[in-house]
């Protein structure tokens, strides 16, 4: 999704502006979000209209990832000791400075990732897995990759079902049919649980790595 303001960068921050019980949700890129938080500055049309109606600055931002209390704490407390990156740098550019930044800013990044990713726990390919564990098994071209250790039937069918349900959910939200959306959300949860139960026990190479095994080799 593109940023509601600049329409150029990826929007990975959601901000909610609330005033007199009137709420506006915005999807913004980090740069535009930072500009908005800093009081708008030379921020043209979209936010000027907010400011002209009395909205201003960070203290009126209700819920914002980088404007949250936790985000401000991160900003005040932390610099990455390895690369010198600050949380403010991340807010401005959307980029972290090194792999250690993830450790430095972990609690705050979790909040960001909860909003922009499916989950905050990696469930995919592990470093050092053999080719066998990630190379796509021989399936028809219209049936994409799956890892060794799960049968095609076990993986494909629930995923297709989930995919369909998620699209229906998005469509329901688009149509503002929230009753249907709630029902679909429950169905997705049930389908995810059923899929998890139906998966066969992973083979050896599918196991989680030991905590002290950060990389291959």
């Amino acid at each position: 999704m593109l940023c509601d303001h600049c329409h150029a960068n990826e929007a990975n921050i959601q901000m909610r502006l609330t005033r007199n019980n009137e709420t506006t949700d915005l999807n913004l890129c980090p740069a535009c979000a930072a500009k908005l938080q800093s009081g708008g500055g030379a921020f043209p049309p979209l936010f000027d209209s907010f400011f002209s109606h009395g909205w201003s600055g960070p203290n009126l931002i209700g819920t914002a990832l980088f404007g949250s209390e936790a985000g401000r704490q991160a900003e005040q407390i932390r610099h990455c000791s390895h690369c010198g990156q600050s949380y403010q740098d991340f807010r401005t550019t959307g980029l972290l400075g090194c792999s250690h930044c993830y450790e430095t800013f972990r609690p705050w990044l979790e909040q960001v990732l909860k909003r922009v990713q499916r989950d905050t726990k990696h469930v995919g390919h592990l470093p050092g897995q053999s080719d066998q564990s990630v190379v796509v098994s021989k399936v028809a071209p219209d049936r994409p990759a799956h890892c060794v250790g799960t049968s095609p039937a076990a993986e494909t069918e629930p995923t297709d079902e989930l995919s369909r349900l998620r699209l229906q959910l998005a469509e329901a939200v688009q149509n503002e049919d929230y009753t249907l959306a709630v029902g679909l959300r429950d169905q997705i949860k049930a389908a995810q649980d059923a899929a998890a139960k139906s998966l066969p026990v992973p083979e050896q190479e599918e196991q989680e790595p030991a905590a002290d095994q950060p990389t291959a080799d």
């Binding site: 400075g97 990713q117 390919h125 796509v136 990389t215 291959a216």
Partner: protein, 348 residues
Amino acid sequence: MAWYIEAGPQENVVLSSRVRIARNLQELPFPNRLNPEQAAAVEKQIEGCFLSLYPSQSRADWNIVRLAELEDMQRLALAEKHFLSRRMLEPGYNKTLIISKDESLSMMILEEDHLRIQAMSAGLDLEQAYRSASDLTCKLEAKLPLAWDDQFGFLTACPTNTGTGLRASVMLFLPGLIRTDQLRYLTDILGKAGYAVRGSNGEGSKVEGYRVQISNQMTLGLAESEILQDLNHLVKDLIQKEQEARRQLQRADSTGLEDQVWRAKGILENARRISFEEACGLLAELRLGIGLGIIEQLPLTALNRIDANIGPASLQQISGKPLSAAERDQVRARLIRDELLGAERHSK
């Protein structure tokens, strides 16, 4: 034949499939915070690893392209074919592209992340693209100490790529959905379902020639298989919607549609000077005409060959010299005429 000329599955709607995997070295800062010495170390370590994987014999299947050594025109020509991202065109450090001779598999070194492995295939074939990219990724992973976290998975400069580091995308040709004004609605829905919808030149680009790129936005909390299966499933759904929209266009005014297609063909076969924008628009009409069976004697591979070569930088590279805008328009018109008439002669 290069992969982007070849016919692929569902080629009437899906022009190409791409898989990109992002990885970073463990102990060095990400590219946005590297100093020149560190950048050189990244380049040396990754290229060294690549060279150790491919002894001199099999290395003949690859080209190592140091971007600093290229002319602007050569860099732009690589970008026109989507082998280089816009970020790779920005100045700085020893950015390197290692690309297979058949141009289907490549590594960008010092893009937003230290390493981006990219595989492409014709038509809807995410499986083939993923297999190529993951095979090379696994080989490199076995030798390189990579940035990894037990919770977040593979670490990337932008947290929107972390986890699998996998971005799968398809380039779609959607004249039906665009002309029946359904794309805006679908874009909203797809955005909410976790997909980015962009123009043919990636982030921030306009939709030109009815080309739309769709890619997954979420990379963490899903397995690679789920990302690929979900996108594949979605694309198949879009193919059906696109085909229905094309039938709708035909039902609404089949003569008008035929007229547009044949006029486009007429101009392309006869123009003596044509701009890139006009050519893209007319070629899109012609592609639609082939897809609907209005034009029968022309294979899509002929259009693929034209598309690959008519960008401003690609034309100058083919000509081997800088060309003015007017000269480019002239060379472009000749190239298109020759290709179309040649393909037609061949099919008779």
